[in-house]
């Protein structure tokens, strides 16, 4: 809505924006504050919006009693590798889907859309058996392979939108100048694509980092658990230790939030370029 903005309009706008900001940020503030209270103070009444004394006890507990460091490392390795490989593979398929017309193309795109409709739980049993056959149950590589497959469909559609926004003439020129198709792809196209690639990687990373059900099914030994699996372990008992839980939540949220903070611009462009044309 471009055009003149009335004072009333501005007031409405900033009131709304302010309220929404409060609503968005408050839960994050609250979990952080909870994690920094001494375990006893968490259940103190009246509720303290700003604790009298801060304590890192909940955090030290996580690394002392539980192996939270191990879970974080596992998640970091698995999410990074899976996201990187999925991005590369998706780039190839996105390139083909954006640049060529061929008979099976619409079927492939439809197949990508259908993957979004499949509930994880229908595939869990057979997937577990398959991974058993491949000797990859409770194995980080195994989970990485599964995550790659989970990331590919949406990532391909997203990157395809990006490729479509880049004029063909760019590669044509490079190829006329003597580069091969691969040369043109890697040396000319990819640098232009960088924002899209960054967005795709981040999106994949966040998805893998946050995934719960596949990880719970495929990773059973404690040394192989990922962060969401560990969190799930915290609530499986009836009494939740809210102190440890909130500290663990903060540690889980922090990495993806930092990624978002650094790259929110890329994400806006990346998600849209892909999905608008999808």
């Amino acid at each position: 809505m471009i055009g003149k903005e009335s004072t009333a309009g501005r007031v409405t706008k900033f009131t709304f924006l302010g309220l929404w900001l409060l609503f968005t940020v408050f839960p994050l503030y609250w979990i952080t504050i909870t994690s920094l209270k001494a375990p006893g103070d968490i259940f103190a009444f009246p509720i303290a919006y700003w604790p009298e004394h801060f304590s890192l006890e909940n955090y030290s507990g996580l690394f002392g009693k539980a192996d939270f460091g191990v879970y974080l490392t596992n998640s970091l390795i698995i999410a990074t590798v899976a996201a990187a490989v999925a991005t590369v593979i998706s780039m190839l398929s996105a390139y083909v889907l954006a640049r060529f017309e061929f008979r099976t193309k619409s079927a492939l795109l439809m197949a990508a859309l259908v993957t979004q409709m499949i509930p994880t739980f229908i595939a869990l049993g057979p997937l577990y058996l398959l991974m058993t056959d491949l000797k990859m149950v409770d194995n980080r590589l195994g989970l990485i392979l599964v995550y790659i497959a989970v990331c590919i469909p949406f990532c391909t559609v997203m990157l395809r939108g990006f490729f479509e926004n880049i004029p063909d003439a760019l590669e044509e020129a490079a190829m006329i100048d003597g580069l091969s198709r691969f040369g043109a792809l890697f040396r000319v196209l990819l640098p232009v694509m960088r924002p899209g690639i960054v967005a795709a990687f981040i999106f994949n990373f966040v998805n893998c980092w946050n995934e719960l059900f596949l990880s719970v099914t495929l990773m059973n030994s404690d040394s192989n658990k990922t962060v969401p699996t560990a969190l799930n372990g915290f609530i499986s008992s009836f009494n939740i230790d809210w102190g440890s839980m909130s500290a663990a939540a903060v540690l889980t949220i922090l990495p993806t939030m930092l990624l978002f903070a650094f790259a929110s611009r890329h994400i806006v462009q990346g998600l849209t370029a892909g999905a608008v044309k999808g």
Binding site: E5, I31, L108, P119, I122, I152, N232, T256, I267, V268
Partner: protein, 331 residues
Amino acid sequence: MPTASETTEPKRTAAAGASGNGGARPVRKAQQGRRKPEFTARRGFLITVFMAPAAIFVAVFTYYPMIAGSQMAFRHWNLSDLTDTSWVGLKNFHDVFADPAWGTVLSNTAIWVFGSIVPQLVIGFALALWLRRRFRFRGLYQALVFFPWAISGFLIGILFRWMFNSEFGVVNDLLQKVGLIDEPVAWLADPKTAMFAVVVANVWYGVTFFTIMILAALQSIPEELYEASALDGAGKVRTLFQITIPYIRVTLALTVLLRIIWIFNFPDLIFGMTGGGPNNETHIVTTWMIKITQQGDYGRASALGLIVVATLLVFATFFLLATREKREVKP
């Protein structure tokens, strides 16, 4: 007249979105016509090689398990007795529909999907319209407001479970301070309020996606359209319904479709927040499926999974057909 700082900055994205795309297609078609006869074999080879990794991964780790899982839906497949995995036809489907809780599960799913998507769309749209115009700290504002999208649904469930806690929850405390309630409400113990609470959490999470998608689509609307509309003396509401919405219709339709599919198929948040309780009253179809899996009845869970896929397929087909005609008219 908008001053320089007040106008949006559609330059970069709009160039990529509108002219870049509009220009790319005809050029490509023309060039392909020229290139095609010479390199048909090589083209085929390249397409195959480039598609292969993605196709193999998805086929092996998504489609194969799904199809293998589907046949369980027609068998007796229960962890309590794995010696008997005989064919039972449609019995599992019958059991799903005959379950007394099924009606609740279905109506919960409807509340979950529509109760979440409508506020997400409306708030997301409003945010996008307002974020379109530059203002001080807009970058920071966006970064902060986009954070929920970086968090897992499961963790969001836990976050809101803590806030809605009846004894120590901050929601009760705040509402009492403001005077909206007199005494603490047991949000997650009462079916009505529990369903409301999970939807609130989902709205918190999902608005971002709409904002992002709509914001970028808005940036592809040519400024001239608004200028013309202003010259014609159209008010804000008319401009919104006659220019903005028609122009971004395709994005809107696809975003709504994708989100409905995702929300329908999103047990994580409810799983973390209420686990389907109290007394099954917040179960949606996919959390119900988790529960049945945990009880070991894989046959019935698979039947439920097939029902989900079929429902979403039918829905997506109708949705795409309904929005198709407009899609060809608009860019």
